[in-house]
């Protein structure tokens, strides 16, 4: 479906433990068709700081009587995200979307569960993915890693979703303030060693996703990663979001991605 640019209305800004919050936006009917992993480009200010729009994965989607409502899960890291945190219900923002290629479906043939692996706010696109897997009757475990417990934003939601699918939530923090102390790759490696998964879907820091790709290769488990690059436009015009592929070509994160197969990316 072609992306469209809408002046969408802020429904609310839901605070989570800082620096996280959810931005809920009302939009057109086409948003109902948004798929897990797709993103939108949001105008954060009408001024210069920042000048360009900002990319956000669609965290959740729901129908409204005349259109659709999306939720973005946002981490405040700079001027654009800070500006969004200060929006008030009723304000209007230009939102372009849906953009990019979604996560692929998990080959149904295989009966093993699926592993969703989130590094911090990388959990954003994995909520919608979890809902789809659940609806498709696919069991999944949700691996959630962060620096500290604060970075495991909305983990209760992810836990209940995983459990509803028959799976569970496994979390780690580097400071040990929640879950197992360490990196999320450790428990995942154990899970893979136990031969548990048929597919890995992940979003998070580059380092994490790279390591997961290696683990996947090691255990012969295919996977997909939602990548982040700086983006100038989000719709294929600036060519600024290059991602180097194994074949040496440069793909566009906003058009060919943001979701890429583990084995396609030159990590």
């Amino acid at each position: 479906m072609q992306p469209i640019d809408t002046s969408s209305q802020v429904v609310e800004v839901v605070p989570h433990p800082l620096p996280y919050f959810s931005l809920v936006l009302d939009g057109p009917e086409v948003w109902r068709e948004i798929l897990p992993g797709q993103f939108v480009m949001v105008e954060t200010t009408d001024g210069l700081e920042p000048y360009l729009r900002r990319a956000f994965s669609v965290h959740d989607v729901s129908k409204t009587d005349r259109g659709a409502r999306i939720e973005l899960l946002v981490k405040i890291v700079g001027p654009g995200t800070r500006a969004l945190a200060g929006k008030r219900p009723g304000e209007r923002l230009a939102v372009l979307g849906p953009l990019g290629q979604p996560f692929g479906s998990a080959a149904a043939a295989d009966s093993r569960p699926v592993a969703l692996v989130a590094g911090g706010v990388g959990s954003a696109p994995l909520l919608l993915l979890g809902r789809w897997l659940l609806a498709a009757g696919t069991r999944f475990d949700f691996y959630y890693g962060g620096r500290s417990r604060l970075d495991l934003v909305r983990s209760a939601v992810f836990e209940s979703l995983a459990q509803a699918s028959g799976g569970s939530l496994i979390s780690t923090t580097e400071d040990g303030s929640a879950g197992e102390r360490g990196l999320i790759t450790a428990p995942l490696a154990r899970g893979l060693a136990a031969g548990g998964y048929r597919r890995i879907f992940t979003c998070g820091p580059m380092g994490l996703m790279k390591r997961l790709a290696e683990l996947g290769a090691e255990y012969g488990v295919p996977g997909e990663a939602a990548l982040e690059t700086p983006m100038g436009c989000g719709f294929g015009a600036c060519l600024g979001c290059a991602v180097e592929l194994v074949d040496g070509r440069f793909a566009l994160c906003c058009k060919d991605g943001p979701v890429f197969a583990f084995d396609a990316v030159k990590w």
Binding site: L48, E49, L52, T229, P230, G232, C233, A237, L239
Partner: protein, 320 residues
């Protein structure tokens, strides 16, 4: 921003937006800038291409180019920094697959050409000369993002004059030469282009810049340096447009930070006959289209019947 509304038959209904840059005639003075709107066709679902005055293609070379490694863009305050490295599909693919589709629009197609070698430009121009769908060629001799070739031509008057002449010899199409702001005297470069047979000057290309992430200590761009664009460079662009329009005497296309109707008026007053919209399109894909409506409305407000009346209309406080 939206178009003006007047009772039917109202004389003010349609100010004349058409402009002529030598043999290049445009329905209105708003074009999309090279490298900021692909090859034109891709974005028909995001904006009404048929409203534009012209479309300047992404820089095209003889062979396809894969471009620079990431990171390719950064965002300093007030602008954008890029080093795409002229990634493009190559002239042949463009002529075969893209150009035909562009025929449907009143918007004029300007093909932006880029070469590594001196001869590349003439060969590219020769290749497009046969295609009626190409209204003009724009020579990018000023792209800061390629290590070899390209840029030197735009910094050396002698070389540039010869380069433009080599292109002049192989095509009758209007030739626009895109000026670099990164020179001591853009006027000298513009005069060289004129001497070589250029019909139009496009000013300006991006300004050479650099930014560093204070935490990772990495340049924001893989190539270290890149091209600064957006609102931050507008005053530099207006100055260069003013200087070359006054001193070189070729029609000028103003480029650099154009986003609002005020910006368009400012460039016109400085001496530009048309403008190109670049970075603003990334923020708002409809920016150029909306400027066409906005400009029409503004002309009515200013009681100006022909947009050309504004060209060069700045009123200096004193001779300069």
């Amino acid at each position: 921003m939206s178009g003006p509304e007047f009772p039917p038959g109202d004389a003010r209904r349609a100010p004349d937006l058409s402009v002529r840059l030598g043999a290049l005639h445009l329905p209105n003075p708003i074009l999309t800038a090279s490298g900021t709107f692909g090859y034109g066709l891709e974005f028909g679902h995001l904006t009404a291409l048929d409203r534009l005055g012209g479309i300047v293609t992404k820089g095209l070379s003889l062979e396809p180019l894969k471009g620079n490694p990431p990171p390719r863009i950064g965002e300093p305050r007030g602008g954008m920094l890029n080093s795409i490295g002229l990634q493009n599909i190559g002239i042949e693919k463009f002529l075969a697959e893209v150009l035909p589709g562009l025929g449907r629009f009143p918007a004029q197609v300007v093909v932006n050409l880029f070469g590594y070698e001196f001869d590349d430009y003439a060969r590219l121009a020769e290749r497009v000369d046969a295609f009626p769908g190409v209204a003009a060629v724009e020579l990018n001799v000023s792209c800061p993002n390629v290590t070899k070739g390209g840029i030197e031509f735009g910094h050396d008057p002698v070389l540039l004059e010869r380069l433009v002449r080599s292109v002049r010899n192989v095509t009758a199409k209007p030739i626009a030469v895109k000026l670099s702001p990164n020179v001591t005297s853009p006027v000298a470069i513009g005069e060289a282009a004129k001497a070589g047979g250029a019909d139009i000057l496009s000013a300006i290309n991006t300004v050479l810049g650099m930014a560093i992430d204070p935490w990772t200590r990495r340049p924001r761009l893989h190539t270290t340096r890149g091209g600064l664009s957006g609102p931050a460079i507008k005053p530099i662009a207006v100055r260069i447009v003013y200087d070359v329009a006054k001193k070189v005497g070729l029609p000028v296309i103003g480029i650099g930070g154009v986003e609002t109707v005020d910006d368009v008026i400012e460039f016109l007053l400085a001496g530009a006959t048309a403008v190109q919209v670049g970075t603003a399109l990334f923020r708002n894909p409809r920016a150029a289209e909306q400027l066409v409506d906005g400009l029409a409305a503004r002309l009515v407000e200013m009681k100006v019947e022909r947009v050309t009346e504004l060209v060069g209309g700045v009123r200096p406080w004193r001779e300069s």
